[in-house]
């Protein structure tokens, strides 16, 4: 028999840590915004200090977030991803982790603002609407597969979240590039050369935030890189889910709404990967497919868990 007593002190500590993590993330978001704002007013020193502080706050929020997840797990003597609240918290933690890992490899500080915004939203939603009190797992979830299948699903979801952000930025930027190009042949080139742009370039004021972003080709490569990391993990999550389903429900695949939407998500991202290698589909259209994939993932998560009844009804929302 597993130990079913709940350590309420730890559970409260977990909730409190999450609140502080959200505060740190929100402040980091402000920092990233400030970095951009001061950059535009060409106060370089202030701007880069704001950026550094923002990263510091992100790392602080990340540490608090890890603390929250760990204490939650300790308070209930199980993995901390047994209901929708806990799952959301983990997905955002992965998204922040992916961002931080990217940051150690490449200059992607521009992403900070755009990753923090959905993370804060996600956690806000998790902490209010989706919140579930600490408690033990239902028997259906009591299997070592929860460590394999769900971790894979969380990791892929968190990474898809980052790729979704990158894809939106790519679409905005490439549209901006085409517009700027139509203004005059020199404008876009001039802006691109000067990333980060300076006040001497006339085009930069027009584009504001968009001018400040890296060029669309790089955004596209980054987005692709993150999807090509997440897609095999998502594939593995579906397969691990099928193996678990075979043990728990006597069949590997039963077209349960969750299974079906995971497959739809998979197909959309598969279409994206194919489109990226097909003439006439690369760029814009491929990016739209990637966003459709992310939309399907959101349906798979929010709509299937709350609206459609199926076998994956572990949301824990009452």
């Amino acid at each position: 028999m597993p130990d079913t007593s709940i350590n309420l002190g730890l559970a409260h500590a977990s909730d409190r840590l999450l609140v502080w993590a959200v505060v740190a993330y929100a402040l980091a978001m402000l920092g990233y915004a400030a970095e951009f704002a001061f950059e535009r007013r060409s106060k370089r020193a202030v701007s880069s200090r704001a950026g550094t502080i923002a990263i510091g706050l992100t790392v602080l929020g990340w540490a608090l977030h890890i603390g929250s997840v760990t204490t939650r797990g300790l308070s209930v003597h199980r993995v901390p991803w047994g209901n929708m609240y806990e799952f959301s918290s983990m997905v955002s933690l992965v998204a922040v982790t992916v961002f931080l890992v990217l940051l150690t490899r490449q200059q992607v500080r521009f992403l900070g603002l755009f990753v923090m915004a959905p993370v804060v939203l996600y956690l806000g939603l998790a902490g209010t609407v989706l919140y579930a009190n600490a408690g033990p797992l239902v028997p259906a979830l009591n299997s070592y597969w929860i460590k394999i299948h769900v971790v894979a699903a969380i990791t892929a979801s968190g990474a898809f979240m980052v790729s979704g952000v990158l894809t939106v930025l790519y679409l905005l930027k490439s549209r901006w590039e085409r517009r700027t190009l139509s203004l005059g042949p020199g404008a876009a080139a001039a802006v691109e050369v000067g990333t980060p742009p300076t006040e001497e370039i006339p085009g930069s004021r027009r584009g504001g935030l968009l001018a400040w972003l890296p060029d669309s080709a790089r955004l596209d490569r980054l987005a692709y890189g993150v999807v090509s990391f997440a897609f095999p993990i998502w594939t593995f999550a579906i397969i691990a889910g099928a193996i678990w389903a075979e043990q728990a429900w006597s069949r590997a695949w039963g077209w349960d709404p969750k299974e079906t939407w995971s497959l739809i998500t998979w197909l959309a991202y598969a279409a994206y990967l194919h489109a990226r290698a097909t003439a006439g589909w690369r760029g814009h259209r491929a990016a739209v497919l990637s966003l459709i994939g992310f939309g399907c993932l959101m349906v798979d998560y929010y709509v299937v868990n709350t609206v459609i009844t199926g076998l994956h009804s572990y949301a824990g929302i009452s």
Binding site: V138, Y224, Q247, S250, R251, W255, W261, A277
Partner: protein, 535 residues
């Protein structure tokens, strides 16, 4: 595969060939009529655009299957929907929208997708097999035109430089060749990352194998559900099942002759009544006469019987009820399964006593494991039997057992005479007006088991492993080429020295290749240059 030399000369990085790109085949001899149409149709079907279209169609087609109730998942909901939408319902039904995943149009989409896939896999495999045997392509004429290129000079001879570069590349598992050219020029051509395409092909072939595994299970497997009361036994023959779903090509001979007895069923609940743990202890025999062994069947923990898996899928209470005639003779003595209606296991059930009494007797009962009286009537407040109460109603008349098949859980009360009600706790009995006696002896448990045999399972698992492995290779490995040309210095250069040019080309992830290239040429002996351009 694109012409290598040409690609090199245009100095364009090759595409991320992450998927099976199916370039239209080179124009063939003009054929006439049908042959031409067929060939054209086939080329269209196996094109990447068609694959994209079919992938999207498959995704779109699956959506109604998650929004509308499905017969395969919940037939009752489908009936409810049809009753609620008398006009729309039949129309949707005609389009198989309540059986989306068994619908002919859905099958058409995925079969076309797989035909298209096989159609482009076969030529791709042939091409790749040839590419695996081929040597790296010769160096293009103007190496320095490539984006990744560098030039330096050295005192070593051209042949020596080339040999050293080749050895270095070979030691890092590059496929590398040395080609002597005219005027003492020596070139090295090297290539790496063939595993990308191998992984790509393995991934797609495994998808086809996965489909074959699914088909195997769908054609030869079986599935059945059976309710077993604690203490009773089940033998794996078709007639033992309450529900049996054979596949198309199933034959009774695929039923392995195992049996088991449900020795003990235990359920544990949290204080609020949510389930915590179920355990069915069974005594299992792999075939008649085999040494029995004890196992535990739990949620997430099936019994791996010979040739099939046994899953615990449900449980409930079986009430031990006895009926005696006015002389005290036992006419009914059974643990009668009651079906749960609520999560707290308020259950209903029926007892039928057709023989042994002057008239046929029927009992309808409601059982509450933890009885509470609420404003809405009696109910159960906890799923475990803390205060079990059985409410019985007795009926007299013709039970109609010989007329038509009827459920063991229902009684045609409309045609029967009501002769009394009683509320019983375990151990209590109730005397009916005619002097016969009904006793509630005790509470037993039952469990439902699903037995499933899927012969395609192992194939599917193997395919799944290769799907992930192939995918990882095709997305992680980068195909890349490097050329080195060493030539004796010409006029206007340092006499007596060797001029070395090196260039590289990557199919994808040019940033990482830039770093790799810079590192390699440094080992070749190039002076440490400016760091590769920051992206």
């Amino acid at each position: 595969m694109t012409d290598l030399a040409e690609t090199a000369q245009t100095a364009q990085p090759l595409d991320d060939t992450t998927a099976l790109s199916t370039q239209p085949a080179p124009p063939q001899q003009p054929a006439r009529g049908i042959a031409r149409t067929v060939r054209y149709g086939w080329r269209r079907l196996t094109s990447m655009r068609t694959a994209l279209l079919l992938l999207s169609l498959l995704a779109l087609g699956a959506i109604p299957g998650t929004l509308l109730p499905q017969r395969g998942l919940n037939p009752v909901k489908v009936d409810d929907f049809l009753a609620a939408h008398p006009h729309l319902g039949p129309l949707l039904d005609k389009m198989s929208l309540f059986d989306v995943f068994a619908a002919p149009w859905f099958a058409a989409i995925y079969l076309l997708l797989f035909i298209s896939l096989i159609g482009c896999l076969v030529p791709r495999i042939r091409l790749h097999a040839r590419a695996l045997r081929r040597r790296p392509p010769l160096a293009p004429r103007h190496l320095l035109r490539l984006t990744q290129s560098v030039q330096w000079d050295t005192a070593d001879g051209a042949t020596g430089v080339a040999a050293r570069c080749r050895d270095l590349l070979s030691s890092q598992r590059w496929r590398a060749d040395v080609h002597p050219e005219a005027d003492g020029v020596v070139t090295v051509a090297a290539e790496k990352g063939y595993l990308r395409e191998t992984g790509n092909l393995v991934f797609h072939v495994s998808l086809v194998v996965l489909l074959a595994g699914i088909a195997l299970g769908g054609l030869f497997g079986y599935k059945g559900t059976v309710l077993v009361v604690q203490g009773q036994a089940f033998a794996n023959v078709r007639s033992s099942y309450d529900i049996f779903q054979p596949s198309r090509l199933y034959s009774d001979s695929s039923l392995a002759p195992f049996s088991f007895r449900l020795q003990k069923f235990t359920a544990a609940y949290q204080p609020d009544g949510t389930p915590e743990n179920f355990d069915a202890q069974v005594r299992y025999e792999s075939h008649p006469g085999a040494t029995p062994s004890t196992s535990h069947v739990r949620v997430n923990h099936p019994l791996h019987a010979a040739g099939a898996n046994v899953y615990l899928v449900g449980h409930g209470y079986a009430l031990h009820i006895q009926v005696r005639d006015p002389h005290g003779r036992l006419v009914y003595d059974n643990a009668t399964p009651f079906l749960p209606d609520t999560s707290m296991f308020a259950s209903h059930g029926v007892v039928k006593v057709p023989d042994g009494l002057p008239h046929q007797l029927g009992l309808t009962g409601f059982f509450y494991p933890t009885y509470v009286a609420t404003a809405g009537g009696p109910d159960s407040s906890y799923p475990a039997p803390r205060d079990p109460v059985l409410l019985l109603a007795a009926w007299r008349g013709d039970l109609g057992l010989d007329k038509s098949a009827q459920s063991v859980y229902s009684l045609p009360v409309a045609s029967l005479a009501h002769i009394g009600n009683a509320e019983l706790s375990p151990g209590e009995s109730w005397r009916l007006p005619d002097g016969s006696r009904v006793s509630f002896v005790g509470v037993d448990q039952w469990a439902t088991f699903q037995v499933a045999h899927d012969p395609g399972k192992k194939l599917m698992l193997a395919a799944a492993v290769f799907i992930v492995a192939g995918l990882l290779l095709s997305l992680r490995v980068r195909r890349r080429r490097i050329w080195i040309r060493a030539r004796p210095a010409g006029d206007g250069e340092n006499p007596g020295r060797t001029v070395v040019e090196a260039a590289g080309l990557a199919r994808s992830d040019s940033e990482r290749f830039a770093a790799e290239f810079a590192d390699l040429v440094q080992r070749f002996g190039a002076p440490t240059s400016a760091p590769p351009e920051e992206d």
